[in-house]
């Protein structure tokens, strides 16, 4: 049962990276200039999906707390600065997007847009750093606590954060290619293709940083999955590029979605049966089962929430269906 919950947790967090990922990508692309109309049109493209994207994060943390309380406490407090940075970013994006169009004055709007850009950057850096932090292990003591916070400041974590920023930017550009009116979409497809090269470089850099770190070489229990990770990312990016060249933005979007979702699965698989691998005392490593809530709690959560999952997914799907297709380029709506 723990495995099922662990998979569900992974699923929700991966879905958040895919859906929230394009929010942050679009957020970062607000910085590319082009005037207030263009920024507003980008936000209109995200429009109705924005609120529904972020709740995947809220739900992930809910599952983490309910089903894996011990892991929750150690994971979040053990990666304090990284999590706090991501959290500050998420907060800035959420408020910035919702409020940026409420002032009528152009300068105030531009200021809010900068809040969104900065927030998107922080959020992507933070989540990339967190995934990297899991792969490099933590100094978990026999008492079950993560000792100190120096373990997060590594070149690998930084490079992975940058790679995440590059990935979400490509993803966001492809999302806009799919959503904006055809005349605005074509230049974005070109931007996206150029960004793929940047993302490839960032992934290469993170791979090198990881390969050079003995902690990253030691922590994974199933190194095959960790080694697979860069290959998956490169393949997905190349597929996205090829699809953009053939004017198939839908395929490209699927590819970058995979590039954001699969790292979650691969990191989980590489560490299995652990979630936090101790770099100081192998016996202290926290297993998935050790981090999970006890049987009755998991059973209760299962009975109460699993029957509802179809409804949750159904209403999300309804949102995508109702607002599918391109925006029509008329007056921008709301955000």
């Amino acid at each position: 049962m723990e495995l099922a919950w662990y998979a569900l947790l992974g699923l929700f967090f991966a879905a958040y990276l895919v859906l929230g990922g394009y929010d942050y990508g679009v957020g970062l692309l607000l910085a590319r200039g082009g005037g207030p109309d263009r920024r507003r049109a980008s936000l209109t493209a995200v429009g109705p999906f924005f609120l529904g994207n972020e709740v995947w994060l809220v739900a992930s943390v809910g599952i983490l707390f309910g089903a894996f309380p011990t892991l929750e406490g150690e994971l979040l407090s053990g990666f304090y600065p990284v999590v706090a940075a991501a959290l500050a970013g998420v907060v800035a994006v959420t408020v910035g997007v919702q409020l940026r169009s409420r002032p009528t004055d152009g300068r105030a709007r531009a200021a809010w847009d900068r809040v969104v850009v900065a927030g998107s950057l922080l959020a992507a850096l933070g989540w990339g750093g967190l995934l990297a932090g899991l792969l490099q292990g933590v100094p978990l003591t026999a008492a079950g606590h993560v000792a100190g916070l120096g373990h997060v400041a590594t070149p690998f974590a930084a490079a992975a954060g940058v790679a995440m920023v590059a990935l979400v930017t490509v993803h966001g550009a492809i999302f806009l290619t799919l959503r904006l009116p055809p005349t605005d979409a074509a230049p974005l497809a070109r931007t996206a293709r150029r960004l793929v090269a940047v993302a490839l470089a960032a992934v290469a850099l993170a791979t090198i940083a990881g390969g050079l770190s003995d902690r990253v070489r030691a922590a994974p229990q199933r190194p095959l999955f960790a080694v697979l990770l860069p290959f998956v990312l490169v393949t997905a990016l190349l597929v996205a590029r090829a699809a953009l060249a053939r004017r198939r933005p839908g395929v490209a979007f699927a590819a970058t979605s995979a590039a954001l979702a699969l790292p979650v699965a691969l990191v989980g698989a590489a560490l299995w049966p652990y979630t936090l691998v101790s770099t100081t005392d192998p016996a202290a490593s926290l297993t998935v089962i050790g981090g999970a809530a006890s049987g009755p709690t998991l059973a209760l959560l299962g009975w109460l929430t699993v029957p509802l999952l179809p409804a949750l997914l159904g209403f999300q799907a309804m949102c995508w269906w109702v607002f599918r297709g391109r925006t029509d380029g008329r007056a921008p709506v709301y955000w």
Partner: protein, 416 residues
């Protein structure tokens, strides 16, 4: 500095901010459901305008409700890892249910509601708002289940110092839950009603163009506030019995207090088991405000022949009393939360054992950083709220009809 103190300060600041916005969310959404339902049933365009104007303010307020809520959720893991370690098996469940059952749908519905004007059929659009409201109440319920468990832990057994769930039903019949939930929900309704009345009073005092619209919302707001204040006072006094029994050290000490303190001293060692005096100050001030707000009933007869508007003074009173419900909700929470000290989970887990083992530097940076971030965003949000409230109902961006199809394709930045 002591990390425990910093963590407590951070919790108090974030939660207070969260609740200021959430009280408005819960109150306004209830009124909005009424307004939009009336519009769909009667087809009267006045109700459409009311829905758009108040809906606009509701949505602005929502932004900070979400932002502060997300920080709250992460805060448990960041600052209170001991809480998850020792009581997470029980306390985590209602919070997990809340996120999956309530928030997830609430935000999805709200996104569709905001963008669904002129796009969805009216019935569907109305159903979405009902969905938002029901899930908002559900989230308030589950979070109160969690909070009540901290006030009075039930339905668990201790094995190796860790609490395990044995009886989920006991969490739902917790004596500290029922009346508290009623009290919180009616306090939110009171806050929403007072806000609606005060904004309307401002417009009527200024004689802005929309007389009829603001006359209607003044009436709705005042009647709601009057009904809600009675419920607030009723549920409030009803709490003394069950809470006093479950927590003999609260409310300046109840029956069985000395026996309980003796038992704790034996189990946890000697210590100061009396809550800080701040709790009683909070309680007394809240009750005073509650009694004072009971006077809204006196304004209701003045609704006859619009005397309330002609006399003007009652409008001014309505306007200046707006801060009171907000003060009361914070004071009430201070009474409840400070009153359970020195426990995180009453009689089970001392607050000091729940705090994460991170250094004071990190804790201080986090406290200052998030307080500044959320504080600045909250002030900006409040100012935008006030500006939109003052701008009136002429053409709120929410629910604005799309530009005619013949228009040139470029979006126009002159549109608000």
């Amino acid at each position: 500095m002591d990390p425990l103190l910093l963590a407590r300060l951070q919790f108090a600041t974030t939660t207070s901010l969260h609740f200021l916005f959430v009280a408005v969310t819960l109150g306004l959404v209830t009124l909005l459901v009424g307004l939009q339902t009336a519009w769909v049933l009667t087809g009267n365009p006045a109700y459409e305008r009311l829905t758009r104007f108040w809906g606009q303010l509701y949505v602005i307020n929502y932004a900070l409700g979400i932002a502060t809520g997300i920080v709250m959720e992460f805060q448990f893991g960041l600052n209170w890892s001991g809480l998850s370690r020792y009581v997470g098996n029980v306390f985590g469940a209602p919070l997990a249910i809340e996120t999956l059952v309530a928030f997830f749908l609430e935000s999805t519905f709200l996104g569709m509601w905001i963008f669904g004007w002129h796009r969805l059929r009216r019935g569907v659009h109305l159903a979405l708002l009902w969905g938002v409201a029901l899930t908002a109440y559900a989230s308030a319920f589950w979070v109160m289940v969690a909070n009540s468990w901290l006030q009075h832990p039930v339905g668990y057994e201790l094995r190796d110092g860790v609490a395990h769930l044995t009886d989920f039903g006991a969490l739902l019949t917790n004596p500290t839950l029922g009346m508290a939930f009623g009290h919180v929900v009616s306090a939110a309704l009171l806050t929403g009603g007072m806000l609606m009345a005060a904004v309307s009073a401002w417009h009527l005092l200024r004689r802005t163009p929309d007389f009829a619209l603001f006359r209607t919302s003044l009436r709705i707001g005042l009647v709601t506030a009057a009904l809600a204040v009675s419920l607030v006072v009723g549920f409030g006094f009803a709490q003394f019995g069950p809470v006093g029994q479950a927590q003999p050290t609260k409310f300046a000490g109840g029956a069985g207090r000395d026996a309980l303190v003796a038992e704790w001293t034996a189990r946890f060692g000697p210590g100061d088991y009396a809550p800080p005096a701040l709790a009683d100050v909070g309680l007394a001030s809240m009750i005073m405000i509650g009694m004072l707000l009971g006077c809204v009933w006196l304004l209701l007869p003045l609704l006859w022949r619009d005397w309330i508007i002609r006399l003007r003074v009652p409008l001014q009173i309505t306007l200046v009393t707006l801060p009171l419900p907000f003060a009361a909700v914070l004071l009430g929470w201070i009474a409840r939360e400070v009153g359970r000290q020195p426990w995180v989970a009453y009689g089970l887990l001392p607050t000091g054992q729940a705090v994460s083992p991170v250094g004071p530097g990190v804790m201080l940076a986090s406290l200052i950083g998030f307080t500044l971030l959320l504080g600045a965003l909250a002030v900006a949000n409040g100012m935008l709220f006030a500006r939109h409230a003052a701008r009136g109902a002429a053409d709120p961006p929410l629910g604005r009809p799309p530009a005619p199809a013949a228009e040139p394709v470029r979006p126009m930045s002159v549109l608000a």
